[in-house]
Amino acid sequence: MHTPTLPEDPQLGERFSELKPPLATQAAVIEADRCLNCFDAPCTAACPTHIDVPGFIKRIASGNLRGSALRILDVNILGSSCARVCPVDVLCEGACVMLRHNRQPIQIGLLQRHAMDAFYASGEILSVAGSPRRSLRVACIGGGPASLACAAELQRRGVQATIFERRALPGGLNTYGVAEYKLRASDSLREVEMIRRMGVSFRFEVSVDSAAQLEALESEFDTIFLGVGLGAMQRLGIPGEDTEGVMNALELISSYKTGRIRELHGTAVVVGAGNTAIDAANAARRLGADPVYLLYRRGESDIPAFDFEYEHAKQEGVQFLWRRQPLSIRSDGHGRLLLDTVQMHLVNNSLLPIPDSQFTIACDLLVPAIGQSPLAQLVRELRGVEVQEGRIVAELSTGRTSNPRYYAAGDCVNGGREVVDAVAGGRRAALAILEAAEAAHA
């Protein structure tokens, strides 16, 4: 058995050519040589998975690429996708002391990618503990970064882990939700395939969302790790939201990444200004939509997206409409959408519509992108696991929930952060699961 894959799509590759192309070998060595090799390096401290950054960089400089990759994979099994998708500006590279020296941080993300690409090119599979030391069985619900990290860590230490994924392809948002110019679905799947070959079991297209299923899992497995992520994207809550031509951001992104949407025409409007909204707006541009508007009910200084994402969207030609609130969606009867909006302003710190400022935008695609909602259905069924505002309550350092047989990490706990946060949480949970098993055994 192999991890399912997607067919190659040259048109997709062309439209979504890589934002940051890889470093050539010599360029990587030059950059690696520039690293000061700080003691107790701030980049390592800033990384949620605490990758030994100077350690892997100096291994690139010495030509020990295998050692470099293993150093990364030691703590971050998704080192390849993190190298591509991490917002390094606010993590490792943002902490680099070179910013205070000559203002040019070391290109840690690209160096990490260099080491990881070499590792995957070699075809090596990470070694796991020789013979399973424990009879412990762990089920990981969800096939995204948190579960992958948890399962891989358990597997490396001799514990059989089984991942349950509701979709046809594993990898979660890494496969379906990241802009293709940052991370190709095929690269995400390559990473999962390595984890599968380490011995992790996968059960695809199994949706765990009923009490009966959980009960069955509890009898088959000793411990259940919840890496289920978040639920569907939030609705705008305005009339006409189900009109044809309305498609939420994650749906748009997964559709173009899996080849179900290959081209767009006409005007696209994205509602929201987070990182996913920006990914969707850029995607609409690259798929052919023109113009692409991004509507946000607050102002430019309130934009939740990272600064570098905002700058990137401007370069892609996305036009921003600030302080604009959607009111309703209508069809014009000829296949186009009419989006009624109103201008907002701040009055005593509350955002209020400006009277008589209604304005209608005719468009061909409307993309709500105002965040994901909690995974309500499954969360309701969890017995003995404390939940607050739709989020599973789990200890940050261990992933322990209020039910000793359940652990959790990733977006379903933190409400939606980055891949690297999910990997860190998943791995911490695996270590805690092992520790608890050892304690019980003793």
Partner: protein, 469 residues
């Protein structure tokens, strides 16, 4: 405007500046040397002339460091592979066209009086301004009884120098090999033989490296290699030491042309300060071409202007009295490291260098408050690293989270190291590893003690131990 022209070696060799090309590939032929003079070189020592040789390919290898090419350079090339006639007729042509520049003939022939007399006469006839006897080449030629086979035996050096002096009408320089335990032994021999000057150093025996794929050392000549002569920036400190040894020894000291890793006016300045009157350059030219001389000359002039020196003689040898034996150093001179926290970027390399490579007196305890004292009262580096790896870090995804982190400036206090001055021995290590200019300085501490050397202290102890009559 300072005058950097020089008149050297019994006053008989003059050149518009003290920068000469060493006897090596950059001086293979007249065409090259004329281009070099056009580029600004003051003199050139011709690639060693003698019975033509057959060279091998490949001939060179190098040591790179941290991404920088040719920190050290190695060659197994022999002397000129062109006939004596060709070399000398081109030399005559060069001298005719460039009468103001110094052209030195480097010579190497079999160790007989007749052979030396003949080549000396021919070189002088060609118009050479001086002769340089190659007693230094450490590979190939030495197996044939020439080069360093002569330079490693003081008696041979003295004898051949004397033969040459019997015949020479121009100044005679002896080029010394560093592949000997005390370079002064050969320098003294050359002086006894009547040499007018010295050139030092020639290349150092070396194997620069081994190809880890083929297991063949470099340079690879059909699967085998041979030791070569090492030069380039890496050898400059060794050359400076030998220059100082020669120039501080009255029995060795002669007008000296300094050689060894010189590539800039700064390097050259150091050789002049230890007594050299001219310098010779090879590797830097092989790396970058003749054009580097422009900055060498300009930089030297600008430095001389800032120091108020009008000629090379104004500062030649000024640093020699500053080099002494260890026993004459002041044991009571005390300095300690001082970290400028406005400049510190928080790399903490000084901390780990001091802990692992020095005296465990630079600490990361600015937040918990200063605690002076021995190692035991401080957190060791491994514990500190383990603490950071055990901490929880999350991506600041929300705007307000990013706002709560004020960013990089200034360097967080917990990353600015503190020097425990009571424990600091003033070794310099931290200031050497610090990547920021002027961030760590060594500051003198007045300990109220009068200067005292080990020599004085041990003599004092010896006097005290002497039985009183």
């Amino acid at each position: 405007m300072p005058d950097i022209s020089v008149r050297n070696f019994a006053g008989a060799i003059h050149s518009p500046n003290p920068f000469w090309l060493a006897s090596a590939p950059p001086t293979n032929c007249g065409e090259q040397i004329m281009r070099a003079f056009d580029a600004g070189w003051g003199g050139a020592v011709w690639k060693t002339i003698g019975e033509p040789v057959t060279n091998v390919s490949s001939r060179y290898s190098a040591t790179d460091w941290n991404g920088q090419r040719i920190m050290g350079f190695n060659n197994i090339e022999l002397i000129s592979d062109r006939s004596v006639e060709t070399n000398l007729s081109e030399m005559a042509e060069v001298k005719k066209r460039y009468p103001r520049h110094a052209v030195i003939a480097s010579l190497m022939v079999e160790s007989t009086r007749e052979a030396w007399h003949e080549i000396v006469a021919r070189a002088d006839d060609a118009g050479a301004d001086g002769l340089e006897l190659n007693f230094g080449c450490p590979h190939g030629m030495s197996e044939r009884g020439m080069g360093s086979a002569v330079g490693q035996v003081p008696e041979y050096t003295e004898m051949i120098t004397a033969w040459v002096k019997e015949k020479a009408r121009t100044p005679v320089l002896v080029k010394l090999t560093p592949n000997i335990s005390d370079i002064r032994a050969v320098a003294r021999a050359a002086k006894r033989g009547g040499a007018d000057g010295l050139s030092a150093i020639n290349t150092i025996n070396s194997i620069t490296g081994i190809d880890l794929d083929t297991l063949v050392p470099r340079p690879n000549v059909d699967g085998k290699s041979s030791h070569g002569g090492y030069c380039g920036p890496a050898v400059r400190p060794i050359a400076l030491n030998m220059v100082q040894q020669i120039m501080s020894d009255p029995e060795s000291a002669l007008p000296l042309s300094g050689i060894g890793g010189i590539g800039s006016w700064r390097d050259a300045g150091e050789f002049f300060l230890l007594g050299c009157g001219t310098v010779q350059v090879c590797t830097a030219v092989m790396h970058y071409g003749y054009r580097i001389v422009e900055d060498m000359a300009e930089g030297l002039e600008n430095w001389m202007r800032s120091k108020g020196f009008n000629s090379i003689e104004d500062f030649r040898g000024l640093s020699l009295p500053r080099v002494t034996e260890w026993k004459h150093l002041n044991l009571n001179y005390k300095i300690v490291a001082h970290i400028d926290e406005q400049k510190c970027i928080g790399c903490d390399l000084c901390h780990i260098a001091c802990w692992d490579g020095a005296h465990q007196c630079i600490h990361l305890d600015r937040v918990s408050g200063p605690v002076n004292g021995p190692v035991e009262v401080h957190t060791i580096p491994a514990v500190r690293e383990a603490e950071s790896r055990a901490s929880i870090a999350v991506t600041p995804v929300m705007r307000k989270e990013r706002a709560a982190n004020p960013g990089l400036y200034p360097t967080p206090l917990e990353r600015i190291p503190r020097v425990d001055e009571t424990e600091c021995v003033g070794c310099n290590l931290c200031s050497l590893v610090c990547p920021v200019d002027e961030c760590i300085t060594m500051v003198r501490v007045d300990n109220g003690l009068a200067p005292e050397t080990w020599d004085e202290r041990s003599r004092g102890a010896a006097c005290a131990a002497e039985p009183k009559p």
